[in-house]
Protein backbone atom coordinates (compact mmCIF):
# COMPACT_ATOMS: atom_id res chain seq x y z
CA UNK A 1 0.00 0.00 0.00
CA UNK A 2 1.35 3.38 -0.98
CA UNK A 3 0.67 5.10 2.31
CA UNK A 4 2.55 2.47 4.28
CA UNK A 5 6.01 2.38 2.80
CA UNK A 6 7.81 2.08 6.12
CA UNK A 7 5.79 0.36 8.80
CA UNK A 8 6.75 0.17 12.45
CA UNK A 9 4.30 -2.07 14.23
CA UNK A 10 3.99 -2.48 17.99
CA UNK A 11 7.58 -1.60 18.75
CA UNK A 12 8.50 -2.24 22.38
CA UNK A 13 12.08 -1.73 23.50
CA UNK A 14 13.38 -2.24 27.01
CA UNK A 15 16.76 -1.31 28.46
CA UNK A 16 16.85 -3.23 31.70
CA UNK A 17 13.94 -1.89 33.70
CA UNK A 18 13.41 1.10 31.43
CA UNK A 19 10.73 0.62 28.81
CA UNK A 20 11.98 3.10 26.22
CA UNK A 21 9.24 2.31 23.70
CA UNK A 22 5.85 0.96 24.64
CA UNK A 23 4.26 -0.67 21.63
CA UNK A 24 4.75 2.22 19.22
CA UNK A 25 3.28 1.97 15.73
CA UNK A 26 4.10 4.42 12.98
CA UNK A 27 3.90 4.34 9.21
CA UNK A 28 5.58 6.56 6.67
CA UNK A 29 4.33 6.83 3.12
CA UNK A 30 6.57 6.84 0.07
CA UNK A 31 7.90 10.35 -0.45
CA UNK A 32 6.61 11.52 2.89
CA UNK A 33 8.70 13.57 5.32
CA UNK A 34 7.88 12.86 8.95
CA UNK A 35 9.50 14.81 11.75
CA UNK A 36 9.68 13.28 15.20
CA UNK A 37 9.67 15.69 18.10
CA UNK A 38 9.51 15.23 21.83
CA UNK A 39 11.46 15.79 25.03
CA UNK A 40 14.87 14.26 25.51
CA UNK A 41 14.71 10.62 26.60
CA UNK A 42 11.22 10.00 25.24
CA UNK A 43 12.45 7.31 22.84
CA UNK A 44 12.88 9.15 19.52
CA UNK A 45 16.34 7.76 18.82
CA UNK A 46 15.32 4.29 19.92
CA UNK A 47 12.37 4.33 17.53
CA UNK A 48 14.54 5.53 14.67
CA UNK A 49 17.11 2.85 15.44
CA UNK A 50 14.42 0.20 15.47
CA UNK A 51 13.52 1.15 11.90
CA UNK A 52 16.81 -0.24 10.53
CA UNK A 53 17.13 -2.78 13.34
CA UNK A 54 20.24 -1.06 14.67
CA UNK A 55 18.71 -1.39 18.12
CA UNK A 56 16.48 -4.44 17.73
CA UNK A 57 13.33 -4.03 19.81
CA UNK A 58 12.08 -6.67 22.22
CA UNK A 59 8.76 -6.82 20.44
CA UNK A 60 7.46 -5.56 17.15
CA UNK A 61 7.82 -5.73 13.40
CA UNK A 62 9.39 -3.40 10.88
CA UNK A 63 8.47 -3.62 7.23
CA UNK A 64 9.83 -1.67 4.31
CA UNK A 65 7.80 -1.73 1.12
CA UNK A 66 6.04 -4.82 2.40
CA UNK A 67 9.15 -6.85 3.13
CA UNK A 68 10.19 -7.61 6.69
CA UNK A 69 13.25 -5.74 7.95
CA UNK A 70 12.97 -7.28 11.39
CA UNK A 71 10.58 -9.13 13.59
CA UNK A 72 10.85 -9.56 17.36
CA UNK A 73 10.96 -11.56 19.49
CA UNK A 74 13.02 -13.88 17.42
CA UNK A 75 15.64 -16.54 18.09
CA UNK A 76 19.17 -16.40 16.77
CA UNK A 77 19.17 -14.77 13.35
CA UNK A 78 19.97 -17.11 10.48
CA UNK A 79 22.62 -16.26 7.91
CA UNK A 80 19.87 -15.57 5.37
CA UNK A 81 18.14 -13.17 7.76
CA UNK A 82 21.37 -11.32 8.43
CA UNK A 83 21.98 -11.02 4.69
CA UNK A 84 18.46 -9.74 4.14
CA UNK A 85 18.83 -7.23 6.96
CA UNK A 86 22.05 -5.88 5.54
CA UNK A 87 20.35 -5.63 2.17
CA UNK A 88 17.72 -3.44 3.76
CA UNK A 89 20.29 -1.39 5.62
CA UNK A 90 22.11 -0.68 2.40
CA UNK A 91 18.92 0.99 1.13
CA UNK A 92 18.06 2.79 4.36
CA UNK A 93 20.31 5.79 4.88
CA UNK A 94 20.99 6.85 8.42
CA UNK A 95 22.38 10.18 9.53
CA UNK A 96 23.60 10.62 13.08
CA UNK A 97 23.88 13.55 15.41
CA UNK A 98 27.62 12.93 15.73
CA UNK A 99 28.13 12.55 11.93
CA UNK A 100 30.24 9.38 12.33
CA UNK A 101 32.21 10.05 9.20
CA UNK A 102 35.28 7.85 8.93
CA UNK A 103 38.33 9.85 9.97
CA UNK A 104 40.85 7.51 8.33
CA UNK A 105 39.45 8.10 4.84
CA UNK A 106 39.25 11.20 2.66
CA UNK A 107 35.86 12.67 1.87
CA UNK A 108 35.73 10.88 -1.48
CA UNK A 109 36.83 7.56 0.03
CA UNK A 110 34.21 7.93 2.74
CA UNK A 111 31.55 7.99 0.06
CA UNK A 112 33.15 5.35 -2.15
CA UNK A 113 33.88 2.65 0.42
CA UNK A 114 30.45 1.30 1.32
CA UNK A 115 29.31 1.38 -2.30
CA UNK A 116 32.16 -0.91 -3.29
CA UNK A 117 31.88 -3.25 -0.32
CA UNK A 118 28.13 -3.46 0.13
CA UNK A 119 26.75 -2.80 -3.35
CA UNK A 120 29.78 -4.34 -5.10
CA UNK A 121 30.09 -1.40 -7.45
CA UNK A 122 33.39 -1.15 -9.27
CA UNK A 123 35.72 1.69 -8.44
CA UNK A 124 34.96 3.96 -11.37
CA UNK A 125 31.21 3.64 -10.93
CA UNK A 126 31.48 4.21 -7.18
CA UNK A 127 33.67 7.26 -7.69
CA UNK A 128 31.32 8.75 -10.25
CA UNK A 129 28.43 8.24 -7.82
CA UNK A 130 30.47 9.71 -4.99
CA UNK A 131 31.36 12.83 -6.94
CA UNK A 132 27.72 13.33 -7.79
CA UNK A 133 26.64 12.84 -4.17
CA UNK A 134 29.32 15.21 -2.90
CA UNK A 135 28.23 17.78 -5.48
CA UNK A 136 24.63 17.37 -4.33
CA UNK A 137 25.58 18.36 -0.81
CA UNK A 138 27.88 21.16 -1.97
CA UNK A 139 31.20 19.50 -1.19
CA UNK A 140 32.66 19.28 -4.69
CA UNK A 141 35.72 21.23 -3.60
CA UNK A 142 36.36 18.97 -0.60
CA UNK A 143 36.72 15.59 -2.33
CA UNK A 144 40.26 15.01 -1.15
CA UNK A 145 39.93 16.63 2.26
CA UNK A 146 40.37 14.67 5.45
CA UNK A 147 37.33 14.82 7.72
CA UNK A 148 39.58 16.28 10.41
CA UNK A 149 39.83 19.41 8.26
CA UNK A 150 36.09 19.81 7.72
CA UNK A 151 33.70 21.91 9.78
CA UNK A 152 30.83 20.24 11.59
CA UNK A 153 28.38 21.27 8.88
CA UNK A 154 30.67 19.89 6.19
CA UNK A 155 31.12 16.63 8.09
CA UNK A 156 27.38 16.20 8.36
CA UNK A 157 26.94 16.94 4.67
CA UNK A 158 29.65 14.38 3.96
CA UNK A 159 27.74 11.84 6.06
CA UNK A 160 24.61 12.62 4.07
CA UNK A 161 26.50 12.21 0.79
CA UNK A 162 27.80 8.85 2.01
CA UNK A 163 24.27 7.57 2.42
CA UNK A 164 22.95 9.27 -0.74
CA UNK A 165 25.53 7.47 -2.86
CA UNK A 166 23.92 4.20 -1.81
CA UNK A 167 20.70 5.23 -3.59
CA UNK A 168 18.62 5.06 -0.43
CA UNK A 169 14.87 4.63 -0.58
CA UNK A 170 14.48 5.96 2.94
CA UNK A 171 16.50 8.26 5.17
CA UNK A 172 16.54 8.16 8.94
CA UNK A 173 18.01 11.22 10.60
CA UNK A 174 18.67 11.51 14.29
CA UNK A 175 19.00 15.16 15.25
CA UNK A 176 21.20 15.90 12.24
CA UNK A 177 21.89 19.48 13.33
CA UNK A 178 21.99 19.20 17.12
CA UNK A 179 25.78 18.91 17.34
CA UNK A 180 26.38 21.89 15.07
CA UNK A 181 27.31 25.45 15.91
CA UNK A 182 24.27 27.63 15.24
CA UNK A 183 25.79 29.28 12.18
CA UNK A 184 26.32 25.87 10.53
CA UNK A 185 22.78 24.56 11.00
CA UNK A 186 21.33 26.29 7.95
CA UNK A 187 23.66 24.66 5.40
CA UNK A 188 22.64 21.19 6.57
CA UNK A 189 18.96 22.02 6.73
CA UNK A 190 19.20 23.36 3.18
CA UNK A 191 20.47 19.96 2.03
CA UNK A 192 17.63 18.21 3.84
CA UNK A 193 15.11 20.58 2.34
CA UNK A 194 16.38 19.73 -1.15
CA UNK A 195 15.99 16.05 -0.35
CA UNK A 196 12.42 16.70 0.70
CA UNK A 197 11.82 18.53 -2.57
CA UNK A 198 12.95 15.52 -4.59
CA UNK A 199 10.48 13.39 -2.63
CA UNK A 200 12.98 11.48 -0.53
CA UNK A 201 11.13 9.51 2.12
CA UNK A 202 12.47 10.72 5.44
CA UNK A 203 11.97 10.18 9.13
CA UNK A 204 13.74 12.99 10.95
CA UNK A 205 14.21 13.52 14.67
CA UNK A 206 14.67 17.24 15.17
CA UNK A 207 14.28 20.12 17.56
CA UNK A 208 14.20 22.62 14.71
CA UNK A 209 10.48 23.35 14.70
CA UNK A 210 10.81 26.03 12.04
CA UNK A 211 12.45 23.53 9.74
CA UNK A 212 9.86 20.86 10.58
CA UNK A 213 7.13 23.33 9.79
CA UNK A 214 8.64 24.03 6.36
CA UNK A 215 9.51 20.53 5.17
CA UNK A 216 7.47 18.01 7.13
CA UNK A 217 4.29 16.50 5.75
CA UNK A 218 3.54 15.29 9.24
CA UNK A 219 4.90 15.90 12.70
CA UNK A 220 4.80 13.17 15.30
CA UNK A 221 5.03 14.15 18.95
CA UNK A 222 6.36 11.52 21.32
CA UNK A 223 6.56 11.42 25.06
CA UNK A 224 7.59 8.75 27.56
CA UNK A 225 7.94 5.95 25.03
CA UNK A 226 4.77 6.54 23.10
CA UNK A 227 3.25 8.70 20.37
CA UNK A 228 1.00 11.32 21.92
CA UNK A 229 -0.18 13.28 18.94
CA UNK A 230 0.49 13.64 15.23
CA UNK A 231 -0.70 15.63 12.28
CA UNK A 232 0.17 18.22 9.63
CA UNK A 233 2.75 20.70 10.99
CA UNK A 234 0.68 23.84 10.85
CA UNK A 235 -2.26 22.24 12.55
CA UNK A 236 -0.24 20.39 15.17
CA UNK A 237 2.02 23.24 16.20
CA UNK A 238 -0.48 26.06 16.18
CA UNK A 239 -3.29 24.02 17.60
CA UNK A 240 -1.99 21.30 19.93
CA UNK A 241 -4.78 19.07 21.16
CA UNK A 242 -3.04 17.62 24.17
CA UNK A 243 -1.77 19.45 27.22
CA UNK A 244 1.45 17.50 26.95
CA UNK A 245 2.27 18.85 23.49
CA UNK A 246 1.22 22.31 24.64
CA UNK A 247 3.61 22.09 27.58
CA UNK A 248 6.39 20.81 25.33
CA UNK A 249 5.92 23.61 22.81
CA UNK A 250 5.76 26.23 25.55
CA UNK A 251 9.01 25.02 27.03
CA UNK A 252 10.67 24.88 23.61
CA UNK A 253 9.38 28.29 22.56
CA UNK A 254 11.32 29.89 25.38
CA UNK A 255 14.41 29.24 23.28
CA UNK A 256 13.35 28.65 19.69
CA UNK A 257 9.99 30.03 18.76
CA UNK A 258 8.88 29.25 15.23
CA UNK A 259 7.61 32.43 13.63
CA UNK A 260 4.17 31.22 12.70
CA UNK A 261 3.47 30.19 16.24
CA UNK A 262 4.65 33.53 17.49
CA UNK A 263 2.05 35.24 15.34
CA UNK A 264 -0.61 32.76 16.27
CA UNK A 265 -0.22 33.63 19.90
CA UNK A 266 -0.33 37.38 19.53
Amino acid sequence: MADKYLELIGITTRFGDVEALQGVSLSVARGEVVCLIGPSGCGKSTLLRAANWLTPPNEGTVRLDGSVVGHAPQGRATAAQIRALNGHRARIGMVFQQFNVWPHLTALENVVRAQMVVLRRDKSEAEAKARQALADVGLSDKMDAWPERLSGGQKQRLAIARTLAMDPVLMLMDEPTSALDPELVAEVLAVLQRLAEIQMTMLIVTHELGFAMRVADRIVFMEAGGIVEQGPPQELLSNPRTDRLKAFLDKLSLTTLPKDREHAEI
Binding site: N52, L54, I82, N86, G87, R89, A90, I92, G93, M94, F96, Q98, N100, V101, W102, P103, H104, L105, R113, A114, V117, V118, W146, P147, E148, R149, A159, R162, T163, M166
Partner: protein, 220 residues
Protein backbone atom coordinates in the same frame (compact mmCIF):
# COMPACT_ATOMS: atom_id res chain seq x y z
CA UNK B 1 94.28 -4.80 28.56
CA UNK B 2 94.05 -1.51 26.67
CA UNK B 3 90.89 -0.43 24.85
CA UNK B 4 91.52 -0.78 21.11
CA UNK B 5 88.84 0.53 18.79
CA UNK B 6 90.20 -1.51 15.89
CA UNK B 7 88.61 -4.61 17.45
CA UNK B 8 85.24 -2.89 17.22
CA UNK B 9 85.85 -1.98 13.61
CA UNK B 10 87.06 -5.45 12.70
CA UNK B 11 83.97 -6.98 14.29
CA UNK B 12 81.57 -4.67 12.49
CA UNK B 13 80.93 -6.63 9.28
CA UNK B 14 79.97 -9.75 11.21
CA UNK B 15 78.01 -7.76 13.76
CA UNK B 16 76.06 -6.22 10.91
CA UNK B 17 75.21 -9.66 9.63
CA UNK B 18 73.96 -10.53 13.09
CA UNK B 19 71.97 -7.30 13.21
CA UNK B 20 70.31 -8.31 9.98
CA UNK B 21 69.19 -11.59 11.55
CA UNK B 22 67.99 -9.64 14.60
CA UNK B 23 65.91 -7.43 12.33
CA UNK B 24 64.54 -10.45 10.50
CA UNK B 25 63.39 -12.37 13.56
CA UNK B 26 62.02 -9.17 15.06
CA UNK B 27 60.08 -8.31 11.95
CA UNK B 28 58.69 -11.80 11.47
CA UNK B 29 57.89 -12.16 15.17
CA UNK B 30 56.23 -8.77 15.34
CA UNK B 31 54.14 -9.23 12.21
CA UNK B 32 52.96 -12.62 13.48
CA UNK B 33 52.30 -11.15 16.91
CA UNK B 34 50.29 -8.30 15.43
CA UNK B 35 48.27 -10.71 13.29
CA UNK B 36 47.58 -13.03 16.21
CA UNK B 37 46.68 -10.15 18.51
CA UNK B 38 44.39 -8.65 15.86
CA UNK B 39 42.58 -11.95 15.43
CA UNK B 40 42.23 -12.31 19.20
CA UNK B 41 40.96 -8.74 19.52
CA UNK B 42 38.28 -9.19 16.88
CA UNK B 43 37.28 -12.54 18.37
CA UNK B 44 37.07 -11.08 21.83
CA UNK B 45 34.89 -8.26 20.56
CA UNK B 46 32.74 -10.17 18.11
CA UNK B 47 31.92 -13.29 20.14
CA UNK B 48 30.55 -12.90 23.55
CA UNK B 49 31.71 -16.34 24.54
CA UNK B 50 32.52 -16.41 28.23
CA UNK B 51 35.10 -19.21 28.09
CA UNK B 52 36.97 -17.57 25.21
CA UNK B 53 37.39 -14.43 27.30
CA UNK B 54 38.55 -16.50 30.25
CA UNK B 55 41.04 -18.39 28.12
CA UNK B 56 42.43 -15.18 26.70
CA UNK B 57 42.76 -13.65 30.16
CA UNK B 58 44.61 -16.72 31.43
CA UNK B 59 46.93 -16.67 28.41
CA UNK B 60 47.72 -13.00 28.94
CA UNK B 61 48.41 -13.39 32.64
CA UNK B 62 50.64 -16.45 32.11
CA UNK B 63 52.68 -14.67 29.46
CA UNK B 64 52.99 -11.47 31.42
CA UNK B 65 53.64 -13.28 34.67
CA UNK B 66 56.67 -15.29 33.56
CA UNK B 67 60.09 -14.33 32.16
CA UNK B 68 60.45 -14.38 28.39
CA UNK B 69 63.66 -16.37 28.76
CA UNK B 70 61.75 -19.16 30.48
CA UNK B 71 59.13 -19.10 27.74
CA UNK B 72 61.81 -19.36 25.07
CA UNK B 73 63.47 -22.30 26.80
CA UNK B 74 60.15 -23.94 27.40
CA UNK B 75 59.14 -23.85 23.74
CA UNK B 76 62.62 -24.78 22.53
CA UNK B 77 63.10 -27.77 24.86
CA UNK B 78 59.51 -28.92 25.18
CA UNK B 79 58.59 -29.01 21.51
CA UNK B 80 60.85 -32.01 20.64
CA UNK B 81 59.56 -33.83 23.71
CA UNK B 82 55.99 -33.58 22.47
CA UNK B 83 57.08 -34.68 19.01
CA UNK B 84 57.37 -31.31 17.30
CA UNK B 85 60.60 -31.16 15.40
CA UNK B 86 60.99 -27.42 15.06
CA UNK B 87 64.40 -25.86 14.91
CA UNK B 88 65.63 -23.00 17.07
CA UNK B 89 64.44 -20.32 14.64
CA UNK B 90 60.88 -21.52 14.58
CA UNK B 91 60.89 -22.07 18.32
CA UNK B 92 62.40 -18.66 18.97
CA UNK B 93 60.03 -16.80 16.67
CA UNK B 94 57.11 -18.73 18.13
CA UNK B 95 58.14 -17.73 21.63
CA UNK B 96 58.54 -14.09 20.65
CA UNK B 97 55.21 -14.12 18.83
CA UNK B 98 53.28 -15.65 21.70
CA UNK B 99 54.93 -13.34 24.18
CA UNK B 100 54.50 -10.14 22.24
CA UNK B 101 50.91 -10.93 21.23
CA UNK B 102 49.88 -10.85 24.89
CA UNK B 103 51.07 -7.26 25.07
CA UNK B 104 49.76 -6.25 21.64
CA UNK B 105 46.29 -7.53 22.57
CA UNK B 106 46.27 -5.05 25.41
CA UNK B 107 47.55 -2.26 23.15
CA UNK B 108 44.82 -2.95 20.61
CA UNK B 109 42.22 -3.06 23.35
CA UNK B 110 43.16 0.52 24.15
CA UNK B 111 43.15 1.53 20.49
CA UNK B 112 39.77 -0.08 19.96
CA UNK B 113 38.34 1.68 23.00
CA UNK B 114 39.21 4.99 21.36
CA UNK B 115 37.02 4.21 18.33
CA UNK B 116 33.60 5.74 19.08
CA UNK B 117 30.65 3.35 19.05
CA UNK B 118 29.12 5.59 16.41
CA UNK B 119 31.72 4.26 13.97
CA UNK B 120 30.32 0.76 14.36
CA UNK B 121 26.79 2.10 14.04
CA UNK B 122 27.39 4.15 10.92
CA UNK B 123 29.09 1.18 9.25
CA UNK B 124 26.35 -1.24 10.29
CA UNK B 125 23.67 1.17 9.15
CA UNK B 126 25.30 1.24 5.71
CA UNK B 127 25.09 -2.54 5.52
CA UNK B 128 28.71 -3.33 6.34
CA UNK B 129 29.20 -6.37 8.50
CA UNK B 130 31.79 -8.85 9.70
CA UNK B 131 35.12 -8.72 7.88
CA UNK B 132 34.24 -5.58 5.88
CA UNK B 133 33.14 -3.67 8.96
CA UNK B 134 36.28 -4.63 10.83
CA UNK B 135 38.70 -4.51 7.94
CA UNK B 136 37.56 -1.27 6.33
CA UNK B 137 36.34 0.78 9.24
CA UNK B 138 37.21 -0.39 12.73
CA UNK B 139 40.67 -1.93 12.51
CA UNK B 140 42.25 0.88 10.48
CA UNK B 141 41.18 3.33 13.15
CA UNK B 142 42.30 0.97 15.90
CA UNK B 143 45.77 0.68 14.35
CA UNK B 144 46.09 4.39 13.72
CA UNK B 145 45.25 5.06 17.35
CA UNK B 146 47.74 2.40 18.47
CA UNK B 147 50.80 3.47 16.49
CA UNK B 148 52.85 4.91 19.35
CA UNK B 149 52.52 1.91 21.70
CA UNK B 150 52.92 -0.50 18.77
CA UNK B 151 56.18 1.10 17.78
CA UNK B 152 57.30 0.90 21.36
CA UNK B 153 56.37 -2.78 21.39
CA UNK B 154 58.40 -3.30 18.22
CA UNK B 155 61.50 -1.96 19.95
CA UNK B 156 60.73 -4.16 22.95
CA UNK B 157 60.66 -7.20 20.68
CA UNK B 158 63.86 -6.07 18.99
CA UNK B 159 65.64 -5.83 22.33
CA UNK B 160 64.11 -9.04 23.64
CA UNK B 161 65.36 -10.92 20.58
CA UNK B 162 68.83 -10.82 22.15
CA UNK B 163 67.57 -13.61 24.41
CA UNK B 164 67.31 -15.85 21.37
CA UNK B 165 71.11 -16.07 21.47
CA UNK B 166 70.60 -18.60 24.27
CA UNK B 167 68.98 -21.10 21.93
CA UNK B 168 71.72 -20.91 19.27
CA UNK B 169 70.09 -18.38 16.99
CA UNK B 170 72.96 -16.47 15.45
CA UNK B 171 71.57 -12.98 15.81
CA UNK B 172 73.48 -9.87 16.86
CA UNK B 173 74.05 -10.85 20.48
CA UNK B 174 75.19 -14.36 19.63
CA UNK B 175 77.55 -13.11 16.92
CA UNK B 176 78.97 -10.67 19.41
CA UNK B 177 79.57 -13.44 21.97
CA UNK B 178 81.19 -15.62 19.32
CA UNK B 179 83.59 -12.86 18.37
CA UNK B 180 84.72 -11.85 21.84
CA UNK B 181 84.98 -15.41 23.09
CA UNK B 182 87.64 -15.80 20.44
CA UNK B 183 89.48 -12.48 20.51
CA UNK B 184 89.04 -11.83 24.24
CA UNK B 185 88.08 -8.21 23.65
CA UNK B 186 84.51 -8.13 25.00
CA UNK B 187 84.54 -4.42 25.72
CA UNK B 188 85.29 -3.36 22.16
CA UNK B 189 82.97 -5.92 20.61
CA UNK B 190 80.13 -5.18 23.01
CA UNK B 191 80.53 -1.48 22.30
CA UNK B 192 79.82 -2.19 18.63
CA UNK B 193 76.91 -4.42 19.61
CA UNK B 194 75.55 -1.78 21.93
CA UNK B 195 75.71 0.88 19.23
CA UNK B 196 74.03 -1.32 16.63
CA UNK B 197 71.12 -2.15 18.95
CA UNK B 198 70.77 1.49 19.82
CA UNK B 199 70.83 2.60 16.18
CA UNK B 200 68.17 0.08 15.23
CA UNK B 201 65.86 1.16 18.03
CA UNK B 202 66.59 4.79 17.37
CA UNK B 203 65.78 4.43 13.67
CA UNK B 204 62.53 2.67 14.51
CA UNK B 205 61.35 5.32 16.91
CA UNK B 206 62.37 8.11 14.56
CA UNK B 207 60.45 6.60 11.68
CA UNK B 208 57.55 6.29 14.08
CA UNK B 209 57.57 10.05 14.50
CA UNK B 210 57.33 10.38 10.73
CA UNK B 211 54.46 7.90 10.54
CA UNK B 212 52.75 9.76 13.36
CA UNK B 213 52.98 13.06 11.53
CA UNK B 214 51.52 11.41 8.42
CA UNK B 215 48.65 9.89 10.38
CA UNK B 216 47.80 13.01 12.33
CA UNK B 217 45.13 14.03 9.84
CA UNK B 218 43.52 10.63 9.86
CA UNK B 219 42.49 10.87 13.43
CA UNK B 220 38.99 12.00 14.27
Amino acid sequence: MKFDISYTIDALPRLLEGALVTLQVTLVGFVLSLSLATALTVMREANNVRWAHRALAVYISFIRGTPLLVQIFLIYYVSPVIGLDIGPYTAGILAITLNSAAFVVEILRGGLASVPSGQFEAASALGLKGPALWGKVILPQTFIASVPPLVNEFTQVLKASALLSTITIVELMRVSQQIFSRNYHPVEVLLGTFILYFLMCFAVSRSAALIEAKLELRRG
